[in-house]
């Protein structure tokens, strides 16, 4: 499937800000099953963009510096990408959870793509006894790791209510867990907490998902959103396999990976520091358009 993706982030500042320095993690990374064909980043007012030195996770980090006084900052990320990713089918040759854990612990790959970095709690996803206990029944050590992963994702999808009003972007996992509701990030974080408690290497994936409009309705342009899900390292043969606890499905042709990290802090699409006083308002619009069914956009 081919997609045209347009992701617009707009900041409006109550008072003009003196200058802004941000990290943008908007350009999709290269990842198995997807190919970036075309990419453009537009910032208004223009500012200076450079590749950042510091990258914590698997992300394209662009440093943006705007040193003129601005009241509004618009960041537009446009990508054309082809996704060709099959739904994984667990089979008898897949390792058991205990085997995966032992392989990850002994790994000699210290890079951001290796499993070792994702074995441990991270600042935004600490270990949690209650979540660990909730997830444990699906994660017994002698179970096929793929089967266990999708089973847990499905259980979270069943047990938790999707409710954008329940949580905020910085709600910690234990709070969303106690409420049994939240959005994609909450479900991903809860699942990551449980997987790591079981000793599995698990990463936070951020990106987009194609949304299918209800029957008889047209797709709404710009009504999509960024999405978050989970990658589990399933041993050297399988590598990283994605599961989506929000929808209770595998990561496949509808998922577009933008960045991967230990937690949100390493993949935040925009973060940084702005010098100014007064409030800031932020508006985000995302449009994921499958090219086959592309519709005319308003000018």
């Amino acid at each position: 499937m081919r997609y045209d993706i347009r992701h617009i982030t707009r900041f409006d500042y109550g008072n003009a800000v003196k200058f802004a320095r941000c990290n943008l993690r908007l350009k999709p990374i290269d990842w198995p099953g997807q190919k970036l064909e075309d990419y453009a980043l537009h910032v208004a007012p223009s500012g200076r963009t450079t590749a950042a030195y510091a990258e914590a996770g698997l992300a394209h980090v662009t440093r943006l510096v705007v040193d003129e006084r601005v009241r509004r900052l618009t960041i537009e990320s446009v990508a054309r990408i082809t996704v060709d990713r099959l739904v994984p089918v667990p089979d008898a040759s897949d390792p058991m959870i205990a085997e995966v854990c032992a392989l990850a612990r002994a790994s000699s790959d210290v890079s951001a793509a290796g499993p070792a970095a994702y074995l441990f709690p991270s600042p935004l996803i600490p270990l949690d006894r209650a979540i660990a206990d909730y997830c444990a029944p699906d994660l017994s050590p002698d179970r096929n790791v793929l089967e266990a992963g999708i089973a847990l994702a499905r259980r979270i999808q069943r047990d938790f209510a999707f409710d954008p009003a329940a949580t905020l972007v910085d709600t910690p996992p234990h709070e969303a867990f106690a409420k049994r509701s939240g959005v994609c990030q909450d479900f991903a974080q809860i699942m990551l907490t449980g997987l790591r408690a079981a000793g599995l290497p698990a990463a936070y994936a951020s990106g987009y998902i194609r949304t299918i409009p209800p029957p008889g309705q047209e797709r709404l342009v710009g009504a999509d959103a960024t999405h978050a899900w989970v990658l589990i390292w399933c041993g050297p043969q399988r590598g990283w396999v994605g599961v989506d606890p929000t929808n209770g499905i595998w990561m496949a042709g509808d998922h577009i990976v933008v960045a991967i990290g230990r937690d949100y802090a390493e993949i935040a699409p925009v973060d940084g520091v702005v010098l100014g006083s007064g409030a800031q308002a932020m508006e985000v619009s995302v449009d994921v358009a499958p090219i086959a069914e592309r519709i005319e956009e308003p000018a």
């Binding site: 320095r21 510091a54 074995l119 600042p123 408690a197 999509d224 960024t226 800031q280």
Partner: protein, 827 residues
């Protein structure tokens, strides 16, 4: 006849006999430090102690503690009750030169080994690739900073200053308990302990040839300077701020080492350079001794929530333009888990065994070690492998396996099967003892030793001869139980070699004479300005309270304030927010009103509240204030006798502070800002007083009050013998440039200060605050007392406000609050 000595100081026995008695009575076993080595040096210490304390060693303890408090006051946070964390014991730990040389070699070997491993971890990463240890050992540490992989540290070294905790076993072997590679604390306390003990036991240093501390610190500073790109670098100590528990130590070390004490707000990273914001604009900074957690250093590189870091600092570092000591990410080697691999790494990388062995450590991230710990943990110490909380242990501190409850054992063994990488088992270390004064006698107590090493200008490690001993509260010799310890002791390295009287003075031609002591950070200027304003505001409020309470030196003129005058004074005090209006002008109500205005702390701008503001501000610039000033600010409020007496006593205290700042502060830019604050505040107070009490229609009581508020009764009576009249009073208190309390005098000083402070451009044009000051002077200087009207005084007050704003805009950090930019909507 022989010189008469006072009876009280004559000891029953001579000091040699006393020392021998203390030595013989001591209960330490043969493994004790005092029993294990030669007796003579310890007897020398005991003789010195006996000459101070006689038979009762408790005296010596009190004496040294007094000295420590005395020294410490200079760098303790005022307004907070925090005592130094570890009170000092007068009995130093003695280590003989040959034994010390062994420790020194071990510490240097270890520091070099750490540097080698760090260079690999943040560089080519071959050690993991070749299987020396698994990747998990690195990624498990919360102090591993992946963003820095591939960046070489400016100056070539990750480590500049390290501390290592050692324990001495009963057999006399020194072993490593912990490594501190991020921002080790304690060097300041080592300095303080040495000072306190040597003030008490003055003769000891020469008697035992005790090696000195100063050359070590000089070498550290030279080492930092040598790592910088510029030849005459500016070096700062980056503090998390005055609310950090070790801020007093940081302020003390900054002053001792001559480093600029800076907070994140003081610094700006621009165009790949680091600058400090000073009153003379942005100035380059070449190196930082950072005492800030690495994750907070730069919100763009690490935690974007950090509000105390410097956005872009890591970019500057990556460009090689600022040295950070130590390099961020060095803490990755501090994990207890790493200790399990160090002995092997030492042999493989250097071909030599560790001179100072680690305590035996089993990291459960490997199957065999995990099985060993699962079987033997009852006789082991269990710790989180990376210092972070785990699901299987009750806390994040080490715990003896034997102390776990059955439920805790089960929880530990259960989690050990799932997350074995989170745990280490360690042997339980037993410590030998040293003599400590408990009550009035010597008692053996277990101790640990923190040793410090710093890189010198040649890049070699220097070890501080001595360090910081922590003493256990109980005789229990298990290291784990010692914890933080409760007492500390100086550590003296002694030997046969006489120590040359080292001076910290550099070679005569290596230093050029300077009269301007560096540039003043904007934050410090801000602090000093507001310290001046608050102190002056407190003085003015006290004067108003005193006058209101009916005080007047001027009893013989019969011009005691009448009720109308008192009403105006009360209104002015209420107006300032010091207290709510009194119920009536009866004396009892006025006294209650005065008490609130002086002592209230519940939201009123009382003298006490103003004093607290002044203390807080002074707390942020401790490295630049005199000890006496701090003491006066810190002294408790008087609580005895009547309100009038209390106000008088406080007024005298404030006068003493004013005298200290006038006569004891160097005429630096910092002093100018302090004085600017005082002048502007005093000008404001006298302008208001003149408008209320000095305009046409003023009564004799009003005029007398104005003279009192302006502290000008005596000047007036000397000048005018005829009695009190409006125009001369106004001239004296407002317009006379020769009266140091008059408005005109303040305005002239303000203009002088602003003319003397640095300007940003050398184009000769006046800056806005200078223009404001000149305009104000032009308004005040030609004025005539008879014609001075309330409108003009209101105009003066308004202009003073604008002037203060202009000074703040030009010199201080202000205005812009950093916001976080963060963007995500979630589906």
């Amino acid at each position: 006849m022989a010189k008469e000595e006072p009876l009280a100081t004559q000891p029953l026995f001579d000091t040699g006999t006393l020392a021998r008695r203390h030595f013989d009575d001591y209960a330490g076993t043969s493994s004790d430090t005092m029993r294990a080595g030669a007796a003579a040096p310890w007897l020398a210490v005991l003789e010195e102690l006996s000459s101070v304390a006689g038979d009762d060693l408790g005296h010596a303890r009190e004496r040294v503690q007094r000295h420590a408090i005395d020294i410490g006051t200079g760098f303790r946070i005022i307004g907070e009750d925090s005592e130094r964390p570890w009170p000092v014991s007068p009995m130093p730990l003695l280590i003989e030169a040959a034994e010390w040389a062994h420790i020194e070699r071990g510490v240097v070997q270890r520091a070099d080994l750490f540097e080698t491993i760090l260079a690999d971890l943040y560089g080519p990463s071959r050690l993991v690739e070749r299987g020396h240890f698994p990747a998990t050992l690195v990624t498990g540490s919360p102090f591993f900073l992946r963003p820095l992989v591939g960046l070489a540290p400016p100056g070539g070294h990750h480590l500049h200053f390290v501390a290592i905790d050692l324990g001495r076993s009963p057999s006399g072997e020194w072993r490593v308990l912990a490594d501190h590679l991020r921002a080790p604390t304690g060097a300041g306390y080592a300095l303080e302990n040495r000072l306190a003990v040597s003030r008490t036991l003055g003769g000891l240093q020469a008697r035992l040839n005790v090696r000195r501390h100063a050359p070590f610190f000089a070498a550290f500073r030279e080492g930092l300077a040598a790592a910088c790109r510029r030849s005459d670098p500016r070096i700062g100590l980056l503090t998390p701020g005055r609310y950090n528990p070790s801020y007093p130590e940081q302020a003390h070390l900054a002053r001792y080492l001559g480093l600029l004490l800076v907070e994140g707000d003081d610094l700006a990273a621009l165009e790949d350079r680091l600058y400090v914001r000073t009153i003379a604009g942005l100035k380059r900074v070449d190196a930082l001794w950072r005492r800030l957690d690495p994750r907070l250093l730069d919100p763009l590189a690490f935690d974007s929530h950090s509000r105390i870091g410097v956005p872009g600092l890591i970019d500057v570092w990556a460009q090689g333009n600022v040295v950070l000591a130590n390099a961020p990410g060095a803490g990755v080697l501090e994990s207890p888990a790493f200790g399990a691999f160090l002995p092997q790494l030492s042999t493989r990388l250097t071909g030599a065994d560790l001179i100072l062995p680690n305590i035996a450590t089993w990291w459960c991230g490997q199957p065999r070690e995990a099985a060993h710990v699962a079987g033997e943990f009852g006789s082991m110490l269990l710790s989180p492998a990376f210092g972070a909380r785990t699901l299987g242990l009750p806390g994040d501190a080490p715990v003896a396996g034997a102390d776990l409850t059955p439920e805790q054992r089960a929880a530990f063994l259960d989690d050990l099967t799932r997350r074995p990488q989170d745990y280490v088992g360690q042997e339980i270390v037993r410590l030998s003892t040293m003599p400590v004064i408990i009550e009035d006698r010597l008692e053996p107590r277990p101790f640990t030793l923190r040793v410090f090493a710093a890189r010198d200008a040649q890049g070699h490690w220097q070890v501080l001869p001595g360090g910081f001993a922590r003493i256990g509260e109980h005789p229990d010799p298990r290291a784990a139980v010692l914890g933080e310890g409760t007492w500390s002791a100086d550590v003296c390295v002694h030997g046969a070699e006489p120590v040359s009287p080292v001076s910290l003075l550099p070679a005569p031609d290596s230093l050029h004479v300077r009269r301007n002591p560096g540039t003043l950070p904007s934050r410090v200027a801000d602090n000093f300005f507001w310290l001046g304003r608050y102190l002056e505001r407190g003085e003015a409020l006290l004067a108003a309270i005193r006058v209101m309470l009916g005080h007047s030196i001027d009893a013989d003129t019969g011009a005691a304030p009448d009720e109308a005058t008192i009403a105006k004074l009360v209104a002015e005090i209420v107006d300032s927010g010091a207290a709510p209006a009194p119920a009536s002008f009866r004396r009892a109500d006025l006294i209650a009103f005065a008490r609130t205005a002086m002592e209230a702390r519940d939201g009123w701008q009382s003298v006490a509240a103003i004093n607290t503001h002044a203390q807080r501000i002074a707390g942020g610039s401790r490295d630049r204030l005199s000890v006496d000033m701090v003491r006066l600010l810190d002294a408790p409020f008087p609580t005895h006798r009547g309100m009038l007496d209390r106000a008088g006593s406080l007024q005298r205290r404030y006068a003493a502070i004013a005298g200290l700042s006038a006569e004891h502060m160097g005429r630096t830019a910092a002093w100018r800002f302090h004085d600017l604050g005082r002048r502007i505040e005093r000008a404001r107070a006298i302008t208001r007083a003149a408008r209320i009490f000095g305009m046409s229609g003023a009564s004799a009581g009003d005029l007398s009050t104005l003279l009192d508020l302006a502290d000008s009764q005596i000047s007036y009576r000397q000048r005018y013998l005829t009695g009190i009249a409006r125009v001369p009073v106004v001239d004296l208190t407002v317009l006379d440039p020769g009266n140091p309390r008059a408005l005109a005098f303040q305005v002239e000083r303000v203009r002088e200060h602003l003319a003397a402070l640095p300007v940003l451009d050398d184009d000769g044009m006046a800056e806005p605050q200078q223009i404001e000051a000149t305009e104000l002077l032009a308004l005040v200087a030609p004025a005539q007392a008879a014609l001075l009207d309330p409108e003009t005084l209101s105009e003066v007050e308004h202009r003073l406000f604008r002037l203060s704003e202009a000074i703040a805009r030009r010199y201080f950090l202000q205005g812009a609050e950093p916001l976080r930019a963060s963007g995500l909507t979630l589906a």
